[in-house]
Symmetry: C2
Subunit: 300 residues, 2 copies
């Protein structure tokens, strides 16, 4: 068993045999991994209840909160991802499960608005399906491996909100697929598309996650960004954003997603705002090697 | 700040500034209590993620699990209460928030099948709304304070499953309110009603909680019991069950609800199975005094 946190503090020890009993009864569980995770879940959730001395009323509020969050989920709304995001859980999972290193791009949260693979567009095409009153942006870059060698035929998926701060899936008035698109890198690893400058926006805050944010004294805004998901056979899929420099929410992103290496500053080229950004993907075998070394280090 | 568990273990320390940042951003939260609880939630949930090294895939399984649990909730189904019950969380909250002591009855989980206050029946009436093929049971008892003094006019609410292992709210074929009822204690604190011997039954296991139970290698059964909720002005409401002695699941209740003092053995009296059981309720003021003493003890 891994540490059970402050459940070992005798001052806090209420009904310790209950926690032991719940964990012991998993002995016939279907897998070692499930037993490991659920033992940690039980230990830590029991520790929360003990350390906070949760009352029946508070417990009921928690049950009701989770129930309302579940009811709010739909094809276009994922309240549990929002919750995970605003509590920093998504970024922590990403920090743990992402392979970083020289030549590799940093990752950030997926967020709840990925809508599946979209139509493939030719290099240089726009991801807008209707006109928008916004500054145009030309986005160019390369997909490479950790050594800077081009990765050809990588799938570059992008999505962002409209200037009204909503994604197409949140807004019946937008054409489906508006401000979304898929591109393929060419033999030199390059890709290119047209879009508009992104805007900051509030995450959906009319549900339980928004109520919790408000109760925690926080605003719901995310700094302006464009989502990227870049995948290629033999490489680990990169999920990330590019953030606009100067945004007032860069220091207080509601989902803790900002990393300095992901902040971009468009330059005017031929009269149009242009960003050039290269994405470095981790080799799957390299990822495995790094993970094996990390495991060896821990077991020493 | 309370202990953050093994997040203090340097070997496990991945992205520690994230956890600190999430907690620090609550500084303008609406109440000290909310900040206290949410700080513990963030610390411990981050600790689960770090200690288990949760992957993106596992994180997604957790999001999907919670979403499916939320979708399953309805007027007659509360999947999050089931989850809380099968992980021992409900019993732990009860242990923390319940005031025990000499002369006071032990409490146990409410469960998800309380259906609100039912019709009031006269002393000695049956809670059956249709005939059932089952052994009749006469239930008698007194409601008292911790000194054994009668509490008159206490509300005694009871509910149980039919012999088919289902509560009325789970079973369209049962009349609404079948095997449920409310009684009032008389001047001597006594109450009396007729019912049938309860049976063991599986908790609803066709949803995410049931899948988790199976994955943990556990059965879904609860030993035979009758639910009681007893309330009277000036006293703490008692939520408890009485369990039938000899039940094969007494040692492995799926929700960890059994306490030895709550196990009953019916006796044949005038040819009918009869149970006599007295319930001792905690005085509200006494409860407060005990809680204050406990707080003082901890602060020493």
């Amino acid at each position: 068993m891994t540490s059970t946190g402050s459940a070992n503090d005798p001052r806090e020890e209420i009904f310790p045999e209950l926690t032991r009993d719940v964990i012991a009864r998993m002995k016939d569980g279907e897998s070692k991994r499930l037993r490991e995770i659920m033992s940690l879940v039980v230990s830590h959730v029991h520790a929360i209840v003990r350390e906070a001395k949760i009352t029946h009323d508070e417990w009921w509020q928690a049950i009701d909160f989770l129930t309302r969050a579940g009811k709010m989920c739909s094809d276009s709304r994922q309240e549990f991802i929002l919750l995970s995001d605003i509590l920093g859980i998504s970024m922590l999972v990403d920090a743990i499960d992402h392979v970083g290193g020289p030549g590799l791009s940093e990752s950030t949260v997926l967020g709840p608005f990925y809508a599946g693979q979209q139509r493939e567009l030719a290099s240089g095409e726009s991801i807008l399906l209707r006109e928008e009153e916004a500054d145009p942006l030309e986005m160019r870059g390369r997909v490479t491996d950790s050594e800077g060698r081009p990765i050809a035929n990588a799938l570059v998926e992008v999505w962002q909100t409209a200037p009204n701060q909503l994604y197409d899936v949140q807004d019946k008035d937008q054409p489906e697929g508006h401000l979304r698109g898929s591109f393929r890198s060419d033999a030199a690893g390059t890709f290119r598309f047209r879009t508009i400058l992104p805007v900051s926006y509030p995450i959906p805050d009319d549900g339980p996650a928004g109520q919790l944010l408000a109760a925690m004294g926080r605003h719901p805004f995310r700094p302006a960004h464009i989502h990227f998901m870049i995948s290629a056979p033999g490489y680990r899929t990169l999920v990330t954003h590019l953030f606009l420099d100067g945004d007032e929410y860069l220091g207080s992103d509601a989902v803790f997603g900002v990393k300095p290496s992901l902040v971009i500053r468009p330059r005017l080229m031929d009269g149009i705002n242009t960003v050039e950004y290269d994405f470095g993907l981790a080799d799957e075998r390299e990822s495995t090697r790094v993970q094996v070394e990390e495991l060896r280090r821990q077991r020493r």
